[in-house]
Symmetry: C2
Subunit: 479 residues, 2 copies
Amino acid sequence: MLTYDIDDRGEEALYAYLYECIRADIECGAIAPGEKLPSKRKLADHLGVSVVTVEGAYRQLIAEGYVQTRPRRGYFAAKIGKSGAAASGNIAQGGTGVAGHARQAREYRFDLSRGSMPSKLFPLASWSKALRDTLTQEATATLVGEADPLGCIQLREEISNYLRQTRGLAAPPENIVVGSGAQTLYNLLIQLIGRNRRIGIEDPGYPRLTRVYQRNNVELAHLALDASGVSMAAVRTSGVDTLHITPSHQFPTGIVTSVSRRHELLGWATEAPNRYIVEDDYDCEFRLAGRPIPTLQGIDASERVIYTNTFSKSLGAAFRMAYMVLPPHLAKRYRDEMSFYSCTVPAIDQLALARFMHRGEFERHVNRLRTHARDVRDAFIATLKAGMPEGSFRISGQDAGLHFVVEFLDVDERELRQALETESVRLPSLGEFMAKPDGETNPKAQFAVQYLSLSKEEAKAAAKSIARAYARGSKGQSL
Amino acid sequence: MLTYDIDDRGEEALYAYLYECIRADIECGAIAPGEKLPSKRKLADHLGVSVVTVEGAYRQLIAEGYVQTRPRRGYFAAKIGKSGAAASGNIAQGGTGVAGHARQAREYRFDLSRGSMPSKLFPLASWSKALRDTLTQEATATLVGEADPLGCIQLREEISNYLRQTRGLAAPPENIVVGSGAQTLYNLLIQLIGRNRRIGIEDPGYPRLTRVYQRNNVELAHLALDASGVSMAAVRTSGVDTLHITPSHQFPTGIVTSVSRRHELLGWATEAPNRYIVEDDYDCEFRLAGRPIPTLQGIDASERVIYTNTFSKSLGAAFRMAYMVLPPHLAKRYRDEMSFYSCTVPAIDQLALARFMHRGEFERHVNRLRTHARDVRDAFIATLKAGMPEGSFRISGQDAGLHFVVEFLDVDERELRQALETESVRLPSLGEFMAKPDGETNPKAQFAVQYLSLSKEEAKAAAKSIARAYARGSKGQSL
């Protein structure tokens, strides 16, 4: 019978790993076309996994055409063309960083394009307890009845407390809107402030953001950065009326917007009516050193700043909870004009998260995650320093959040990238986050390192691979 | 100390009920401005409820300005103006039917504008078990890692099986997109098929739908109905390229679109490129008598029909899960162009629902709910028949789903509506669901009855109230 080393799967889901093993066997012919597969129960017993796991793997194989079912007869390997089935590899939608590039995460030994929390750090026990207590202690009507369109008051109150304590931000619950991820909130926000806008986003920046705004048919301008943040010249010449920026920790450059630039930005916002700044504070929980950076909304006296943040960074990509803090006049407009929309997060999850926060579990978890991030980052940088010639690279933006930029000197970027591919390291260059094609706008060999998903040991190994790639790609050393 | 009869709250959430009691006491002065409220623990002990309940009530009172906290001193009733606090009554967003009308559900003794499942029928035990098993048996990476943008394959597979078994619909998992409610999916759908459209919706119809499309800046046309469904003349003269209709059970008229009209509609859709029909099958689980009505998508050979359905009807408004079945070419387009959007439902909830369906719990729950609906409907209609003169009313559309239309004869609609207000019955007239103001387009005394949230006894009492209101409003009987 089919035998695979289940313990070899690393952090992958069991069913996903099993799916990949069987798929590989079908693709290479180890399982012949038309061959009968074992029943779900038999294979589960054989491998010592649950039937549900085998079921999940079989389902995916069937959905992608690798396996066929015949009523009352069982499962059979399909006849596939040499190029494999049509829709291969839907499970792990890796590479969250660069949506435009259809790279498969699992092809790489080390993937530094993924900023996601390692799943083993998810606080499963305390989250399960919060869920369980919610189900047993809340009235059923609260769990399933029509909830407040802005989100459950308990959660908004906890978020309000959290923002006051960690960000010094006065965000009353009535200004907070909860949603199923930042993307969902941006879709609602555009409907709130109106689609007839020209929105400026940072370049380089978050590629998915460009896609969200494009799909909403708003005009977009990509704005250059300088050392202090988004360039005021770019803001002024672009004719934008709305900015979407990451002032606490620019993605991907790591730039922290300076205090004077913050005031310039706020000044710009008040010069004309109807201007707004979306302050995307996506990884503020993870400032790793130095004083916390105050929010833009905290110093905005004119109700021009919309603050947004997400739980996806800290609790996993599949968690789907985010929130925005609206200026009072927009909060009122939301309540008046947008509350025909039901809140997009199930009430059970909202109430569980409120409990989780109220008990201090969220803070404890973020502290643990921050320590992990610091350890991984330090191991990575130390290994890079040990393995590379002095003065061959520069690191910036490493304290403000969960990624940093490494710039390699005296190297041909193309050769370095090729060498990284050979080493099976996925390390996106800053050019990949720019609106215009690579090369044109990013002559330097600058790369964005997102390390949170790695273990300390993996970080060391990845840094060694990068040092080897540099040695191969550096000028005057071409073999 | 504050004392309230907690058992008197009916189906309301404990904390919401407590909030209302305290608010009422503050508003009427029974609790004086500035008066200290008991501590949360003391009040909880006193009333025999949990501290969490009191906390929830206090939170809401604070959020709305009825109560103020003073550090280390406790909770105090605020000084409020005669009109009450600014933002009163955010908890129970009642009256899901008519979003435009800011009526408060709790003001009414019987509310027939709410189609929501009574929370005591929510399958709390089996849902909790499905959640628990998901948390303990699935790999953590599956629970929190980046999921498939269309939704977890396990859930899409279950939905596919369900649609085949209950609707005879062949909906392969790769064509199914899961989202946090129908509204979220419509927002995505518009981005998928393009905003530059003229969309026709039924008149009378679902008011929230108008709002969703308006907020998306698509052109709208409200289309009249005839006995067979949406009028073909209205479709043709309106110049629409997209229809959003409820063919299995029109909301609110209860009309079932005839077979010949279905073919006419499909014919219209294929006459020009880029035409689509959104088939909104929102309450198909609840056909109470007669043969099931096949879906429009099931007879669509030209990939013109987008099928949508929701779990909010069957599992509660706060459940936030819905799905759409795209025609193959749109499913491919979604995967190619829209999968930068993360699926909007948390993976834990998706996997729990997949388990819940796989175990047959969903089907059992829907069967129980259908029996409840039939009992309530029958009690309501029988009581109406017993209490009203023969031939004084007509009922239609009562078998196809969770609401029906009652038309009162020989009555002045305005007087009847006034009498219903006096009886404290919220019974929306069909005119309230029309794009144009009442009266103009709805000269008949037709009302939409949504009865699912009532118990059998409440349904009888509501019907008696209506009979009394009719007696007062009927012609020749004015007192």
